[in-house]
């Protein structure tokens, strides 16, 4: 059955009957807790991905590798990151594969892609909250492509580390019309710090945005943040 399904993948395209691929779906579920069966399925998917397939079939394999892929699948997926037609679905898998090799693949491809593809890779790095990427993302905050700079800003906000804050605060000084997005990312970092009980750090971020020179929306957010800091048990006990 599984062999038949992989045969069907070779000619699978939009409009094909998905039922033909049902054995692959079943194998993904049934192989949970069975390392050998899972590895066999992953190997089949990787081999198929390296073959000549339609975009739809490639996409399907990426969906499955998002569920069952390991470090072994990363090289095949990473090779697709630079292709306009495949980059998203490659990230669809890589974003979910817990192996550090998947994070490395996303970081490594950054200098090799531009425009929307770069934005996509950055967004996946942010979704993975990859702290190792903070330096690389910081270097993109002043990118000449505004969409890349914005993506890096939001990704650093998603990562939410103290290092992210430092990079964003530096960028804020020369932000121009990107100021609002950078502040949003810094506020997002403050929330992460607060959630991790780094109350003093969060509080100091919020205080910087409470003065009258800040837009009303920002002052409101900063004030709410300060109130949240003040309500933390560690502060109340002082």
């Amino acid at each position: 059955m599984l062999d038949t399904a992989f045969d069907a993948l070779k000619t699978f395209d939009w409009g094909s009957d998905l039922a033909a691929l049902a054995p692959i779906e079943d194998a993904a579920t049934a192989s949970h807790g069975k390392p050998e069966a899972r590895q066999d399925l992953e190997n089949r998917l990787i081999t198929a991905l390296k073959g000549i397939l339609t975009r739809d079939a490639q996409d399907y394999i990426c969906r499955k590798l998002a569920n069952v892929g390991t470090a072994a699948a990363v090289p095949a997926l990473a090779g697709l990151l630079v292709n306009k037609g495949n980059s998203h679905m490659s990230r669809f898998a890589l974003e979910q594969i817990p192996a550090p090799e998947a994070a490395s693949a996303l970081r490594d491809v950054l200098p090799k892609v531009n425009g929307d593809l770069k934005v996509g890779v950055i967004s996946s790095i942010g979704a993975r909250r990859d702290r190792v990427a903070v330096d690389a993302l910081s270097g993109l905050l002043a990118d000449s492509d505004a969409s890349v700079a914005r993506a890096a800003t939001l990704a650093l906000g998603a990562i939410g580390s103290a290092e992210s804050v430092t990079a964003l605060q530096t960028a804020l000084r020369a932000a121009g019309d990107r100021r609002q997005t950078i502040i949003d990312a810094i506020l997002s970092c403050a929330e992460s710090l607060l959630a991790n009980n780094q109350i003093a750090n969060a509080s100091s971020i919020y205080k910087a945005f409470t003065d009258e020179s800040q837009p009303r929306l920002v002052r409101l957010a900063a004030t709410r943040g300060l109130l949240a800091c003040a309500s933390q048990p560690a502060v109340r006990s002082i």
Partner: protein
Amino acid sequence: MSVAKKPTRRDFMKTTGAAFGVPYVITSAALGNSERPAASDRIVMGGIGIGNMGRGDQGAFLGRKDVQYVALSDVREEVRDKSKGNIDRHYNNGDCKAYNDFRELLARTDIDAVHIATPDHWHAIMVIEACRNGKDVYCQKPETLTLREGPLMIASARRYGRVVSGGSQRVLEDYRKYVVPAWAGEFGKIKSINVNVGPLPQLCNLPGETKSEAIDWDLWLGPAPWAPYNAKRCSGSFSINGASWRSFSDYSGGGMTDWGAHHFGGATFICDVRDQQPYEVNYFDDADGKYLAFRYQNGLTIYHNKPKTDQLLIEGTPGEKLAPKPVPGYKGEGGIYGDFIECVKTRERPFRDIESAVNTASLAHLGNIAYQLKRSLKWDSVKQEFVGDAEANRMTDRARREPWQL
């Protein structure tokens, strides 16, 4: 002695930035009368996604005297044109602006609030972007497509102090007959309730076809995987069986979230757990079929599709009567829409506040994942992750197509 001018609601609401470059002419309508508040005290609104549900939402807001509807956005040209025509006829002017790209609408600093009724795969991006732009939001249900989106939407709403309402009117209006006795304590401690809803979402592999409408296809797909145009793929009909986007996993959680937003919303309201998420989902596959049991910390079980069990069948504690609690309801007048508008004015949280809306949607997402994996799952609602199940954790979110990002 100088007398300070009493601030209007719009003074209060105004956030920052230069005023949007539209001419401002004082008219008699702008000054208001006994029938209609002055323009400065009306909520200035726009709408994004004006298909089936969006059209209904728009009509409800347009009919309110305390709303000035000024802009809309839709990726379908015919929808844009028709909708603008309706609004301009309503106000007897030509002021409504129609946008293909929602970002232009959200960038307008003169708009206080937006309603969103796009397919579900757009909700999180739009709600978060609206909050960043200082807008209050009424977002149709199901509010999320993935588990990860919910907390990010809540965080954005709370960060900027925005009023963000989810969209199921049925939660309060359809289930009141169960809610009232439940909150009056007449069932005693509720042990379980059953929700029958479905089906699960399915992958869409419809063939490409020639466009039968003027639609910005790339923008319709947005963060979803690229796929060729097919009228059924993007149909806004209420089908959940393969003839609309509601059926397909790239855009929706299927009937499980689409109708689940109503039914699970009603069940969590009846049982007063709208502010919670379950800690465990038990998966059963026996002779009678597949079904789920969502377990809550307070001992409640919400069943999904329990065999031979009626919709919203409540198992209480016979002979026990609990102290009654006041039943929460809408604020203001005009149902769920009036509730939202009233909260925009007062800055209170609406009945379907984004947090309880997200909790409802998350219940359905947890169920979809358990069915797909065919196993029971433990859920840490604080960390928003499955406990000891890396495979399930891979299903809490999905990569968005470039250039879209949360």
